[in-house]
């Protein structure tokens, strides 16, 4: 993207229009415009009582304004070194459309939806990041539930056979080609998949595949590393994700010893924060966590290229006697795309050992 200022600015403006509908300053107006107010008359808004449907919910939700497919992986090379990966693809609609409504003609180059894909690899304190953009409905980017396929240009996550997926990404100087094995049923967060994001009812539909077995190759500067490890896949969609005034979020997906999995997030508000999470045991049983059960607070700050970020956290779940210290490894893990945010692998110590991923938005700048 370097040396491409004119088009990038325009792309930023268009994407800003596409992803946040009006914000003039993308990074400061909330990540990817998630706090924009949806037009209730046009877009559908998730609500308590909504239910997940499979496999349809692996595909796009054109009646909703924003959604993403998100994968993180805590891998180990055949030399035993930790390596972290992230891949995310966003869809942001400008126009709501019924699922069975015909798409606009591709030769008119419609702009009813924008797509953005992010990919990152973290290894030996280095962090590589790439971003791709595309307009929807012309075939360059899209998603289907059956067969499962999410793509933008030549980046894609697609089903090969039952329970087997393939993720291929090419960045500048790095790439990865991974096989993913789905080992558990999807986990529904919140109320049967409705994940509240504020006390006043804003929220999203949210489910995860929390125990993906991953193996494959990661190429870094021409050097091929065979890797294997654990992955976490999220699907989330909404039309009004955040409440106005929420400044950003701190999100964690952790693989803990004993087969436990933990998803936790904290949405920072003008006063206080909205905290929520899911405690998942080795059998896949899910327990939703609220403010009374889940305590999440920064334990240490790090100076980074965009200012100070909380790179260490203390997370406690008193009913389960969980007390964790979550730490990002040394390094700077900013994803410097149109909307810069921190995305790093983490290690976990304390009552449980483990690894995972941490995403922090709304810091710096």
């Amino acid at each position: 993207m370097m040396g491409f200022p004119g088009s990038l600015r325009r792309a930023a403006l268009v994407l800003c229009l596409a992803l946040s509908a009006c914000s003039e300053s993308p990074p400061s107006s909330g990540f990817a415009g998630l706090d924009e107010q949806a037009d209730a008359g046009e877009f559908a808004q998730p609500a308590p009582g909504d239910r997940l449907r499979f496999p349809e919910d692996f595909g796009p939700h054109p009646r909703h304004r924003i959604e993403w497919w998100y994968l993180t992986a805590n891998l180990t090379t055949d030399q035993g070194e930790p390596l972290g990966l992230q891949w995310t693809q966003f869809r942001q609609a400008l126009v709501a459309r019924d699922a069975d409504a015909p798409a606009p003609a591709a030769n008119r180059w419609p702009m009813e939806a924008g797509w953005m894909a992010h990919a990152a690899v973290s290894f030996r304190e280095q962090h590589g990041f790439a971003e791709k953009l595309a307009r929807g409905d012309i075939g360059q980017a899209g998603a289907t539930a059956e067969p499962f396929n999410v793509w933008l240009d030549d980046w894609h996550l697609q089903a090969l056979e039952e329970g087997q997926w393939r993720l291929q990404v090419n960045g500048e100087g790095w790439s990865y080609d991974l096989r993913l094995t789905v080992q558990r049923e999807p986990v529904a967060h919140g109320d049967h998949g409705f994940s509240a994001k504020s006390a006043s009812g804003e929220g999203s539909m949210y489910f995860s595949l929390v125990n993906l077995a991953i193996a494959g190759e990661v190429t870094l500067n021409g050097e091929v590393h065979r890797v294997s490890g654990l992955g976490w896949f999220d699907r989330e969609w909404s039309s009004q994700f955040l409440k106005a005034g929420q400044q950003g979020w701190d999100w964690f997906a952790l693989h803990l010893d004993g087969g436990y999995k933990l998803m936790a997030f904290r949405l920072r508000e003008d006063e206080g924060a909205f905290v929520s999470g899911s405690w998942i045991n080795a059998n896949g049983d899910v327990e939703s966590l609220g403010a009374g059960d889940l305590l999440l607070e920064p334990a240490g700050w790090q100076t980074s290229q965009h200012g100070r970020v909380p790179a260490q956290w203390r997370l406690r779940i008193p009913p389960h006697e969980v007390d964790l210290l979550i730490e990002a490894p040394a390094g700077d893990y900013w994803n410097n795309g149109l909307f810069p945010y921190w995305e790093s692998p983490v290690s976990v110590t304390g009552s449980h050992g483990g690894v995972g991923y941490m995403e922090l938005t709304g810091y710096g700048g």
Binding site: F4, G6, W109
Partner: protein, 652 residues
């Protein structure tokens, strides 16, 4: 202030002088601003289109089909960096626009097409490709190209695609530039003529004001102060007149811009993009400077220049000779115009001297009152030197413009006649088979001449020309008949049209023949519909300056694989009404409403547009001629008025 009012009172006594000065400045500013605004827009369009695609390459389909959004998606999903570029041609003055997809350009890095100074692809003529696509319709055709970075090599391409240099149109050579240079030259002439006229009127006024200046000197006003006030007087007058002049000039450019754009595009394939013309600053500075230089350049300075005064007429004769030689031998347009300028200046300076010398010589051969009369005439010639030169320039300009317009008009009309030979043409609808229409027309024996035109592309093989494959327009016509055999052939083999009809070869247009060094009898390697074949060149037909390479072939002799991009039937209805033919074709094609074009009305419209285009140049010539003539008459009148007392003495 009192001094300024005292000086300015001259114009209260001679309001016509003030009016003449003001009118000249307003008129000259209007004309110069109008011309320079249009030429600036045209040049900016040309430069922008060249810059936008400089060094770029594109992907095209090997099968000759136009690329589509589907190709774009397929190529991107294969990991190739491809950027769509949708050019929408809108009738002037709207101009062409280019649709780009800002999402798709990231992979170009700093090689993004159209980038100049980091603000590429922003503002007109660039639009979001979705907005540009919405403009595409029958009247505003769009062409999609898929650009790839120059670093992409042929080996990296997926099957079915190949690389090709990207350009928005064929090179126009010096054709477009000569058109603009002509307008530039007119603009400079307007400035020159106005400068001469303004100077003559102003100098006349200064002569009349000599007594006032002497009076002021006696009152102790230093000459330098008077000079400064006179300068201020002209600055104020020029500034007041230049502003409405610029506004009128821009209005003139806007009114005439449509025709100008269409003429540029029609004649030279040079698109007039939707770009802004110049601002107010340049015309204002140029015109005020011109007025001040014209009024205040001291003639004595000129006389003091070393060598100039001593050289006398020999200097101007040398300049005239040099100019004539340059016009005769120079190959480049710029030097040609410089040579013409030298001739103009030399002739302009020499003419009053010649007239004066003639009168002097004539007077030497007389005596008494006749001697006095002829001496007076010599004085008159010397006094009226500037307006005479201005009038001379204006007359020359009228002749030059008339020649220019006539040349262009002849070319344009010949080109129109060639392209619109038939009275009507009917587009073959997308879903219809042209052969059905052909059968129907063949069955109507009372119909006049007609033929089917299939337009597509072909590639010259490398052996035929300069090395790289060249894409050309291919016109396949069947049957070959009077609608085409009337075309002017520049060179040809014997019985060329019959041989073309028999499929014994093809014809090429003049520009292609010149570029590729082709002549009748040569063999031409052509790839048509993916098949490479050799064709004999039967003739070279006049193309009236259209720079695109063209091949004319008999339709029935082309390979089956040839896929035309556009098909139409051209016809003269003869004894059948067009309504009946349209009805018949609608039935055989089972189509809805057909697109039928009345070529005669198109021709009339095109001629109208042409006239509108050259209205500007005609306006310039007529107005400057009127200006020069009026000025000359006024000067003569003032001259004789100022010497009236002298004539009265004679009568006494």
């Amino acid at each position: 202030m009192t001094l300024f009012v005292a000086l300015f009172s001259h114009y209260r006594r001679h309001p016509l002088q003030l009016l003449a000065l003001a009118l000249m400045i307003v008129l000259a500013t209007t004309l110069w601003t109008g011309v320079s605004n249009l030429t600036e827009r045209a040049r900016a369009s040309l430069a922008q289109s060249e810059r936008a695609v400089a060094g770029q390459q594109q992907l095209v389909r090997v099968d000759g089909q136009a690329v589509s959004v589907r190709d774009f998606a397929v190529l991107r999903r294969q990991g190739l960096c491809v950027m769509p570029w949708l050019e929408v041609r809108r009738p002037a003055p709207a101009g062409r626009v280019i649709g780009v997809d800002p999402f798709a350009g990231g992979c170009f890095g700093d090689q993004v097409p159209g980038q100049a100074g980091g603000d590429a692809l922003i503002g007109e003529p660039f639009l979001d490709i979705g907005d540009a696509a919405a403009l595409v319709d029958q009247d505003n055709p769009g062409t999609l190209s898929l650009l790839v970075p120059v670093t992409v090599l042929p080996a990296e391409l997926p099957p079915g695609y190949e690389l090709k240099d990207f350009s928005l149109g064929p090179a126009t050579g010096e054709l477009g530039e000569s058109f603009l240079l002509n307008l530039d030259a007119l603009g400079v002439l307007v400035l020159l003529i106005t400068a001469l006229l303004v100077r003559s009127v102003y100098q006349m006024g200064r002569v009349q004001r000599r007594e006032s200046f002497a009076l002021l000197a006696r009152f102790g006003v230093p000459p330098g102060r008077v000079q400064r006030l006179l300068l201020m007087e002209m600055v104020v007058l020029a500034a007041l007149c230049v502003l409405p002049g610029i506004w009128l000039g821009r209005w003139l450019a806007a009114v005439l811009g449509g025709g100008f754009g269409q003429a540029l595009e029609g004649l030279f394939d040079t698109p007039l993009y939707a770009v802004e013309g110049g601002g107010f600053a340049l015309p204002a500075v140029v015109m005020v400077t011109m007025v001040l230089v014209a009024c205040f350049t001291d003639q004595r300075l000129w006389a003091k220049l070393p060598g100039v005064s001593a050289a006398g007429p020999s200097l101007w004769l040398a300049m005239l000779f040099l100019g004539v030689v340059m016009v005769g031998v120079t190959p480049g347009l710029t030097w040609l115009f410089t040579g013409i300028a030298l001739v103009f200046v030399a002739v302009g300076v020499l003419t009053p001297r010649l007239l004066s010398a003639s009168a002097q010589w004539w007077s030497d051969r007389a005596g008494g009152l006749v001697l006095w009369q002829r001496r007076e005439l010599a004085v008159l010639f010397r006094r009226l030197a500037l307006p005479v030169v201005a009038l001379q320039f204006a007359v020359a300009m009228v002749l030059a413009v008339q020649a220019l317009v006539t040349t262009f008009e002849d070319t344009f009309e010949a080109w129109l006649a060639q392209r619109l030979e038939a009275e009507f043409y009917v587009e073959v609808p997308d879903a219809a088979r042209a052969a059905d229409g052909v059968r129907y027309l063949a069955s109507r024996t009372e119909l006049g001449d007609w033929h089917l035109v299939q337009r597509g592309t072909a590639r010259l093989s490398a052996a035929a020309g300069s090395g790289a494959p060249v894409e050309v327009d291919l016109f396949a016509i069947a049957p070959i008949g009077p609608l085409v055999t009337g075309w002017t052939l520049q060179t040809s083999v014997a019985d060329a049209w019959s041989k073309l009809a028999a499929g014994e070869g093809v014809m090429v247009n003049e520009q292609l023949a010149r570029r590729e060094g082709l002549k009748p009898g040569d063999s031409l390697g052509l790839t048509v519909g993916g098949q490479a074949r050799e064709f004999a060149i039967l003739g070279v037909y006049a193309d009236y300056g259209r720079p695109a390479g063209e091949i004319l072939a008999a339709g029935q002799r082309l390979p089956q694989a040839f896929r035309p991009q556009f098909e139409s039937l051209s016809m003269n209805p003869g004894d059948v009404t067009m309504t009946e033919i349209e009805q018949g074709l609608t039935e055989v094609w089972n189509a809805g409403k057909l697109t039928v074009r009345d070529n005669r009305s198109i021709q009339a419209l095109a001629s109208g547009v042409f006239d509108q285009t050259f209205l500007l140049t005609r306006a310039i010539t007529v107005l400057t001629l009127v200006l020069a003539g009026t000025s000359l008459l006024m000067m003569g009148w003032v001259f004789f008025s100022s010497r009236a007392w002298y004539y009265r003495l004679l009568s006494v």
